[in-house]
Amino acid sequence: MDFDDTPEEARFRAGARAFLEQHATRRAPGSGLVYRAGNGNPEFRERAKAWQAKKADAGYAGITWPKEWGGRGGAAIEQVIYDQEEAKFAVPRGLFDIGLGMCIPTLCTWGTQAHRDRYARKALRGEEVWCQLFSEPAAGSDLAGLRTRAERDGDHWVINGQKIWTSGAHYCDFGVLVTRSDFAAPKHKGLTYFFLDMKSAGIDIRSIKQISGQSHFNEVFFTDVRIPDSQRLGKPGEGWKVSLTTLMNERYTIGGRTSVGVEDVFELARRIELDDGPALKNAAVRAKLADWYVSSQGLKYAHFRTMTALSRGETPGPQASIGKLVNGSKLQNIAAFAMDLMEQGGALTDPELVPLAAVFQQTLMTSPSARIAGGSDEIMRNIIAERVLGLPPDVRVDKELPFHALPTGKAKGRP
């Protein structure tokens, strides 16, 4: 039992570090949070694209992709090692996660060699950015309930409907899209999957204002958008199967810190004075801090166990996803508890007026999304219960009926 690299891993790490030392600058220690909100900024995107091209040319993009896709053909553990090393450097991150992590692997799996040749390399070098058009106002956790319509018209398809929660729709070049092509088939059997040019006529993109006041996502409306049949992935009606490829391509990454952690609330507890001295000396505060520390450490070492499995060439199961389930609630609870320590002043949001530049106040308003995006807490629990513990799936009333016969509620999306 040790935390050491194997000789091959050590060699790979040394190579990655040398590349990074040569082309990037180290982050200052304790430089705090790394926000990925930069994607909305055109200047950030230019830097991100330039960095991605350097990475790709040096063989550090698409590390786990097969060589036929233009990747390195490396091991999953090498991706983890590269990410660990890159996290120590101040480089623009996050712009290509969805495209390279989900869209292109789906395209390469289900598309032709011509598709791979045309799109994979350009995406890998950051020349073209991809987005994912899956969720709809009335189809989130129940993704297969989507109702964006695709109708065949000669060698094209005509798309009408609406997608939501699409990061980067307004600056992306291409997107992957799942639609309903047969409303008379049962819900999972009437879907068809495409990729399309995001500059196509009939696409209308509107940003969504989140409860945090920020706008990181979009709604995308389709009005008679035409997609060539050559951009269909999988057969008509096979869209659910293709979608699962996209959803399974979640990457095991550990990047820079993107949210508050136990160290921040620890620091706050040193600064806040209660009746009996610093909050850090208060028994109730100490108990809370210990709980969060213990769960953070548990996740850290669970991740090391996952890495060990990767290092042996094993595929970690869905147990690797407990981190998301634990972290979402924890973020929300840490934020609320830290604000309690500030008493009435905790309501203030001006970074000049409250400790740690209002990071807890911001987290209060961003953390609800951590429990919903990318699989809600409830879906994650179902996944653990069914795929890890082997419990039976829920009794379904929607699997056999034609889609158009399924009951629908009144709450379909936006008011």
């Binding site: 620890f266 100490r286 210990a290 450490q297 548990g298 090391f304 179902n382 653990i384 219960a385 039976p392």
Partner: protein
């Protein structure tokens, strides 16, 4: 990255699991629960013969020299089986105390017999309800004699050897007592929430004893011993939590209600997913504890406290939700759920509560001056 047990130790775990499945089904645990015997003597003799009691004792003192990682693997299986033997008292507490603090003569005198399972050891700390710390202990050890009363002492009715925490001329002191040979000892078995592990009240009246460890170092030594034991107990607890989860899962698959397996209801699925998450966090924290214990790393106090808190919570959660998933049947004496529930609570008390260990963890983090 190789944050896992070696193939050899995994093989040992498989052997232990197979052996305990055969030799220590819950029927064997129930014989101790309901019968007059304080522990399963035959099981004890067999595991001693296989070298488990001496797993982490150096070969120079008659041990198997498997190291602490080997002991962790065995602890997990003993915990899963609820083995009704004085293993934790004798191995995690008494043997670790002597390995940590004993003089060469004390090691020679006791470790070979502890390793062979020929003597049973324990650690006597508590003096009734309330936190047992230096300011509150009334048991004294002065001029080579021990006086006072310890309650409850795990396996105190069957132990041959006790490490007694007392106050001496220079603060807290550890005293080693030969319970079979020394005069002035009165022992009475006491009932606890978990009768599958026996406990006693031990009164000492001018009982001859010898100091374990240097004078004035008692407090630090006790912490060191507790840190080491916390990791080993954590593996027992993880084993117990895992088995409780499996019992609940199996029952949820077989029990039908409202025309379907109750395991298909999200109320049950989500509950068990939470138990799974708690158990995996506890296991991961225990692994780090094992690493720190085996390396004697300076991170041990922090790793041990995290392992302890995580394991306390996981096992109790798993055990109580196991009863809940079983419904009314889980509340019957006949079903095994209560065996795990009892053991979970017992183990969460034996080395000190989560409240105490959380405070200890934060103190360590403060003094380590390392941001967590």
């Amino acid at each position: 990255m190789n944050f896992d047990f070696s193939d050899d130790l995994k093989e040992l775990r498989e052997q232990a699991r197979k052996f305990l499945r055969e030799r220590c089904p819950t029927a064997a645990v129930r014989r101790v629960l309901e019968g007059p015997e304080p522990y399963d003597q035959r099981l004890w003799d067999e595991i001693a013969a296989m070298g488990w009691t001496g797993a982490a004792i150096p070969e120079a003192y008659g041990g198997a020299g498997l190291g602490h990682l080997g002991l962790c693997v065995l602890a997990e299986e003993l915990g899963a089986a609820l083995a009704p033997v004085p293993f934790s008292s004798s191995v995690y507490l008494a043997s670790e105390a002597i390995i940590t603090a004993g003089s060469e003569a004390q090691k020679r005198a006791w470790l070979p017999r502890l390793a062979a399972g020929a003597v049973i050891g324990t650690l006597a700390l508590a003096e009734g309800a309330g936190k047992a710390d230096a300011r509150r202990l009334r048991t004294s050890f002065r001029n080579g004699v021990l006086s006072g009363e310890k309650l409850p002492v795990p396996d105190g009715d069957v132990a041959d050897l006790a490490i007694v925490v007392a106050h001496g001329e220079r603060g807290t002191v550890l005293a080693l007592v030969d319970l079979k040979a020394a005069a002035g000892i009165s022992r009475t078995p006491v009932e606890t929430i978990d009768p599958t592990r026996s406990h006693a009240r031990i009164a000492f009246t001018d009982t001859p004893a010898e100091a374990l460890g240097a004078a004035g170092a008692g407090e630090a030594l006790l912490r060191r011993i507790q840190d080491r034991a916390a990791v080993l107990f954590a593996f027992e607890q993880v084993g117990g939590a895992q088995r409780s989860l499996e019992m609940a899962r199996d029952y949820a698959l077989e029990r039908y209600g409202f025309g379907r397996p109750i395991g298909s209801f999200q109320a049950i699925k989500h509950k068990l997913a939470d138990v799974y998450v708690a158990t995996e966090l506890a296991r991961s924290n225990a692994y780090y504890g094992a690493w720190a214990l085996a390396r004697n790393a300076h991170e041990l106090p922090i790793a041990a406290a995290a392992a302890r808190v995580s394991a306390n919570e996981a096992f109790f959660l798993a055990a109580k939700e196991n009863i809940q998933v079983h419904g009314g049947m889980g509340y019957t004496w006949e079903f095994d759920c209560h065996l795990y529930y009892r053991r979970a609570k017992l183990l969460s008390l034996v080395l000190g509560s989560s409240r105490l260990w959380k405070d200890r963890l934060i103190t360590e983090l403060e003094t380590a001056n390392a941001p967590p």
